[in-house]
């Protein structure tokens, strides 16, 4: 920002811990090590965080290279406030299980919805194939 006022740049964010939300719905947390003009990111010591309800689980992933176009948003994590969360961390297996359960429930309700609409003669809204989460 101080290079060019009125612009946004990731240069100031380098070597800081970031939370990155990707287009496929994944949440990555890692240290931003390198960028380029397309906002391709290199994340170091990356952790994929899965949230289900009030619980979350971290899967360590190592080094991530993210293509810029797949980033929805990213933001710096304040290290002091990082631990100050009401969320509860659980193990990976547990969170994956929770996620599976959640997905199932969603699918069920979606099915019911579609059926209800069909019964009433209304058309089913098609989901955009790109954003499936």
């Amino acid at each position: 920002m101080n290079y060019m006022p009125g612009t946004a740049s990731l240069i100031q964010d380098i070597d800081k811990k970031h939370l990155v939300l990707l287009r496929d719905g994944r949440t990555l947390i890692g240290y931003l090590r390198s960028i380029d003009q397309f906002a391709n990111l290199v994340l170091h010591q990356t952790v994929e965080r899965i949230h289900v309800g009030k619980k979350y689980g971290d899967i360590p992933r190592g080094i991530f290279v993210v293509r810029g176009e797949n980033v929805v948003l990213l933001g710096e994590i304040d290290l002091e406030k990082e631990s100050d969360t009401p969320l509860q961390q659980v193990s990976i297996e547990e969170i994956l299980e929770e996620q599976r359960v959640e997905q199932q429930a969603k699918q069920e309700s979606e099915k019911l919805k579609v059926q209800a609409l069909k019964e009433r003669g209304l058309c089913v809204p098609r989901a955009d194939t790109l954003d499936e989460y």
């Binding site: 101080n2 290079y3 060019m4 006022p5 009125g6 612009t7 740049s9 240069i11 100031q12 380098i14 070597d15 240290y31 090590r33 390198s34 960028i35 380029d36 003009q37 290199v42 170091h44």
Partner: protein, 766 residues
Amino acid sequence: MFRYQSLEDCPLDEDEDAFQGLGEEDEDIDQFNDDTFGAGAVDDDWQEAHERLAELEDKPVASREQDGPSSEDLDLLGDPEDTLAERLTRLVIDSELEDPAIMQAVQTRGPAQQPGGLNSSIWDSSAVLRRMRGPLLTQEMPSVSVLDYALPQRPPQPRDDERDPSERALPRRSSSPVIGSPPVRAVPIGTPPKQAAVPSFNQQILCPKPVHIRATLQQRYPAPYGERMSPNQLCNVPNSSLLGHPFPHSVSPVLTHLQRAQLLGGAQAGRMSPSQFARVSGLVGSPIPSVNPKLLQGRVGQMMPPASGFRAFFGAPPAPPPSQLQHPPGPGSHLQSLRPQPQMFRPDTTHLHPQHRRLLHQRQQQSRSQHRSLNGSVGDRGGHRSSHQEQMRKDPYANLMLQREKDWVSKIQMMQLQSTDPYLDDYYYQNYFQKLEKLSAAEEVHGDGPKKERTKLITPQVAKLEHTYKPVQFEGSLGKLTVSSVNNPRKMIDAVVTSRSEDDETKEKQVRDKRRQTLVTIEKTYSLLLDVEDYERRYLLSLEGERPALMGERKQKICDMYDNLRGKAPGQDRPSDDHFMQIMCIRKGKRLVARILPFLSPEQAADVLMATARNLPFLIKKDAQDEVLPCLLRPFSHVLYHLPLGTVTSLVQQLTNLPQSAPAPAPTNLHLTAVLQNKFGLSLLYLVLSRGEELQSSDTNTELMQDNQWTELMLMATRELLRIPQAALAKPVSTPSNLLSLFSRYVDQQKLNLLETKLHLVHGIR
């Protein structure tokens, strides 16, 4: 080349001298190369050169001395073993350069020794003029040597045939140093070079020398028209970097052909990676010992503006120590190499604007000076800094992205800001900042001085360059190459445009075409309008001499617009409003007319107004969905202010469709009814009436002249108004205040009261 074309030609037994020469250097000759040596042995030097070449092939990493010693370097030429020994020692050092720890040790030897130790032969000779190397270059390994190999222009040498470096280069890799092919890299792109900082005076070297490889390119640093710098942004940014470093005599600023080609080749690739920049810089490097390779990587010297307000972007003094200076001792620690400004000799926006360049340099200097001072006195730092340092020490992976690379990214961002016409490309931002600065200037008048220093993003204007693309042609060949590219598209399909005849079309198609024609007319007129609106700004920017021409252009465009609007009728009058009506039926057309009206002359504007009034019911009907007509009210009212009473009278006539002299009014005046029932119509009527009243009350002379017409009209109009039920009346945009006095002239009190209530002419009722 060799005197003998083939083995057969070689007089093996006849040439005693050659063989004697051979015998002397028998021990140096590779036995397997006997044939070659024996057959083609002409000169001693050839053998030597070949030997060296053989050595080169063995070496894993090329060293820089293999570029072919010049003729003046007797040392190298006359003493192969000595050179070999030297080279070996250098080779050892080279490999050690990979290790940063050793690098530091090496550097502490003293930079003066470096050129002496590594490059003595070069520096001793006047060949340096051709070579343009520095100690930096010596550390840059393969690419440089390749460069030098491929140098097409070499100074004339007595044994230049054998010495021709391109020959030697061939066994390794054949590369063309011409534009279009990517520069040869033995080190892959993106490898950060391990050099120390290159002083930024390179820019000065490179700046004034435009490359001339293709069509003529000019150096351009145009007056930044569109650029607005707040008064606090200094143009006199310290340019010491540019001039401060003394040029050593031995370094000439001329780029060799190849180096330019490399630049351009890199530029053509679209972007130059940081390593390439450094390499390029190395070409024009200097042996200035002030370059301290010990400079550690650190964050960019951040001139953080205070949170409260903006600060002069350029004018900030050498910034306070950055908050995140680091001493990473870990593997991330590299030598900092401050990359000089990459000069891409390409037209237009690939040049970094001087101000941007200055900005980058400033930043580089800042970080450099900070690093230097940091090296000197670590203990003196403030508490906050040390804590940051600690923090950074804990992060061994910090600064994997070098400062150079960060600059590279921000340079790309800066270059994206350059445009040939900021007002065209970035209209809203430019206008926004214009407004802001006007505001602050206004504030300044009252206050003591500038309260807030706004840092404005510099969006420089770069001159447009014309360059015509000429497809590749070989000399002496007939015809053109069948190469098709973006710049040189080839006709693939022979498509012929056939226009349909009028008879074939159905009515529907005709209607559709007519509408399309109208749309096209609207678009054309809109373009003219935008141009005309822009003339004011162009006046300010143009020179005195150009202004009459601009004025003429503007007038012409206005005429064209009017013609477009009304349709180019052959006769004097414009008998048909048809064309105009077509335009007015379309929403965009109405807005177009509203915007054009201020530019038209009073007569033209009155004409438009009349046409509108005449066909108002039709327009109202068509406007039912869009309801855009009210946008015309304001320009119409402006027009009305300039109209004389006669015109106003005719206007009223048109609006109300009341015959000038009618024996008895028709039972229903549909025209007037329609007008009154529409918001726009009613408002327009009020406006016109109000204007008439103004004129009447102000100027007694005209009153006498026009009295009959006007009075009759008014009488009829008021009669109609009285007749129409109140419910049918629309709600006008505004009711002028003098209508009451207007009506009071023509009707008695009772009817006046009626009118008053009906039309809500008195304030407060609404």
